[in-house]
């Protein structure tokens, strides 16, 4: 298409219309700039962006395996150092590759203190293989391996707190971000890239196909996650919380109702106790990160 502008993550890839991860890739590469080497894990983004012999990446890009992106990045960083080169190394990995299968490699690389930025695009399940649960899948979400049934309400566990785990490794910069807040996301990526050492940015990237909503609602859904307190955007420097996105909180129901993965909580019968449990998760987030804006009484 002649009228499209060339970007570092270019048009023509095969992501679904309304893909949150594809938008994350655009924003991250824009923020990181051309002097960046991107390491991808196996997953949706790798598959929709690089069917041989085509590639959507206008920066040097490498994919090796599902679980080893941070080890591959360690090697790249070491080689660049030895060669006296200045490119930045950015990992782009999904939540399955990050929270689950890549955990050992990530822990090792963060402990060793390599200078790279790890971006986890978090769409809260294994989307590439057909929407199976991961350690990032939220409580009660329906996936193909956490289906609701006669004796189940969906995923049995809340999300793993990955940012805190990496902060505990001594990561100098850890942040959460959302594709719904683009300027904030790009600023965080730039901060991470310009902070020496292993930095982590976890980006909430709703998946219209996996979560069950129309592709034109991606940003609206992402925004509701923040507004209900089920996703908190924050920054940690040297393990200390320095910035939090505050909101006038809405009930979690407003977020849950937008997605088919939570449909079983409303139909055929409304599951008040489960919805209340999810509300408790949001309330705890609100308390822990002090996100509530207290409105003056009108």
């Amino acid at each position: 298409m002649a009228d499209t502008v060339c970007e570092l993550f270019d048009c023509g890839h095969r992501a679904c219309g309304g893909c949150g991860a594809a938008l994350a890739a655009r924003l991250v590469t824009q923020a990181a700039g051309a002097d960046t080497i991107v390491v991808s894990s196996t997953g949706c983004m790798e598959v929709f962006s690089t069917p041989y012999p085509e590639t959507a990446w206008k920066v040097p890009w490498i994919h090796s395996l599902f679980e080893n992106a941070s080890a591959v990045a360690s090697g790249i960083e070491a080689a660049l150092k030895k060669q006296g080169r200045k490119e930045k190394v950015v990992i782009m990995a999904g939540d399955g590759a990050t929270f689950d299968i890549g955990m050992i490699c990530i822990s090792g690389a963060f402990e060793r203190g390599h200078d790279f930025t790890y971006i986890c695009y978090d769409n809260e399940a294994y989307m590439n293989t057909g929407i199976q649960r991961s350690g990032a899948t939220p409580y009660d979400a329906s996936t193909t391996t956490s289906p609701p049934g006669k004796c189940s309400f969906g995923n049995k566990r809340p999300k793993k707190d990955m940012p805190q785990i990496l902060a505990a490794h001594g990561a100098p910069y850890v942040a959460t971000a959302s594709i719904a807040y683009t300027a904030d996301l790009m600023q965080k990526v730039q901060k991470a890239i310009n902070t020496p050492g292993p930095c982590y940015v976890q980006v909430h990237a709703p998946c219209c196909t996996g979560w069950g909503f129309e592709g034109d609602q991606t940003l609206a859904v992402a925004k509701l996650a923040i507004e209900t307190g089920l996703w908190v955007n924050y920054e940690m420097i040297e393990g200390k919380l320095v910035k939090v996105k505050k909101v006038v909180r809405k009930p979690v129901e407003e977020y849950l109702k937008t997605q088919k993965r939570f449909r079983h909580l409303f139909k055929p019968t409304r599951r008040d106790a489960e919805i209340a449990t999810i509300q408790t998760i949001a309330d705890r987030n609100a308390e822990k990160y002090a996100i509530d804006i207290k409105l003056k009484k009108e």
């Binding site: 920066v59 490498i62 994919h63 080890a71 090697g75 070491a78 660049l80 150092k81 060669q83």
Partner: protein, 384 residues
């Protein structure tokens, strides 16, 4: 200069002379002395490399992928369980055509756990696309590292290489070894300057996925490169001989084979024992010779068929077993000799560190003369 030096240390010296820019390794017996020596070299500025002390072997080879793709000469070492943990990465390295060299201090695979020598570990990766060199002694173990880098990095090859040497038997044994100098090696081994690398000035994508329209051809291309590397190995071995008087141009090497009726085929340190046994058997008037296999991948079938064309029978010594079939080397030898009709018998021997002595070789020669073989040699019936 000739030195009395431990095998692992000699290998570490050779690796140092190869000037790897990035080393990533994880300790595992009996590979540890190599990586300890390299850590010492780096700590004392004798080797200007980034040394990544990874959290396991899987990450060791994964880090090597990153470093090699970024354009640095890259090295690792492992064995046994460590190599098994790298299984997935090994196929990936070869598929991405990254010329990483890795020392394998050969060791058995569990269960049951065994830290002792056989060659099951590297043999089990025979289909992964790596070149596989096997050393008879520590001199060969060191020299093969220079050759491995030169061949692997050749633009027409671009495939990774194992340099295999028997754990403990060689890795922990002191032998007089002629170490080259840095100057020597710099003359033999050119700098690693890959045409393609991760570089912001010229962005390319590495490791894309291939649909059924392309995958088949990718594999064919690797197979072709591996087979065509035989010519590069020959030339690299010859050039080494010209420069340092040790010729490694032959992928299989005969010992008293010219007039032999019975040929033994073997790989690794067992070849030394076999040569001594052959000398003694010859004194009894039996015409026995050895064909040593130095390169297992690519497999030198044609050279093997030629070298064994005149013998009446072949005994293959396998320090591995493809359970449910035969030893991996025997399967290759049988394939190479298929049209000749020469009988080939297989002897699984020395698994998990069981000693192989001259008298065992003599016993095997007697067995093959009687047409008895395709067995686990030397079973202790009392523990079965």
């Amino acid at each position: 200069m000739m030195q009395m030096i431990e095998g692992s240390h000699a290998v570490a010296e050779a690796v140092k002379f190869c000037r790897p820019q990035v080393i990533a390794a994880y300790p595992i017996t009996p590979q540890t002395h190599i990586v300890e020596a390299l850590a010492d070299f780096v700590a004392n500025c004798e080797l200007d490399a980034e040394y990544i002390t990874v959290e396991n072997e899987f990450s060791a080879l994964s880090a090597c992928i990153g470093a090699s793709a970024a354009g640095s000469r890259t090295y690792s070492a492992t064995t046994s369980q460590g190599l098994a943990l790298m299984f997935e990465v090994c196929f990936n390295v070869a598929g991405m055509r990254l010329p990483i060299v890795m020392s394998i201090a050969n060791r058995a695979l569990g269960a049951p756990l065994s830290i002792w020598n056989d060659q099951q570990d590297s043999i089990s990766l025979r289909d992964s696309g790596w070149l596989q060199f096997y050393a008879e002694d520590n001199q060969e173990a060191t020299d093969l590292h220079y050759i491995a880098y030169r061949v692997a990095e050749d633009p027409s090859v671009l495939l990774p290489a194992f340099v295999c040497f028997d754990g403990f038997i060689l890795s922990h044994t002191y032998e007089p070894t002629d170490l080259l100098t840095q100057e020597d090696v710099d003359k033999y081994l050119p700098k690693f300057t890959p045409k393609e690398r991760l570089d912001a000035a010229d962005p390319i994508s590495f490791g894309m996925y291939a649909t059924p329209d392309y995958y088949h051809e990718f594999r064919y291309d690797m197979d072709r490169a591996l087979k065509e590397s035989k010519a590069i190995i020959r030339e690299a071995g010859k050039e080494f001989g010209r420069m340092f008087n040790r010729d490694y141009s032959a992928m299989v090497e005969g010992y008293r084979l010219e007039d032999a009726d019975t040929a033994i085929v073997a790989m690794g340190s067992i070849c030394g024992t076999t040569k001594d046994a052959i000398d003694e058997i010859r004194e009894e008037g039996k015409k026995v010779g050895l064909l040593k296999v130095r390169v297992f991948r690519p497999f030198p079938s044609e050279n093997m068929a030629k070298a064994l064309a005149h013998v009446k029978r072949v005994a293959v010594l396998d320090k591995n077993v493809s359970l449910g079939a035969k030893g991996a080397l025997a399967l290759e030898v049988k394939d190479a000799l298929y049209s000749s009709g020469i009988p080939v018998k297989d002897y699984i021997i020395g698994l998990g560190g069981r000693d192989v002595r001259k008298k065992d070789i003599k016993a095997i020669v007697e067995l093959v003369e009687k047409g008895q073989g395709d067995i686990f040699y030397g079973l202790r019936r009392e523990v079965l």
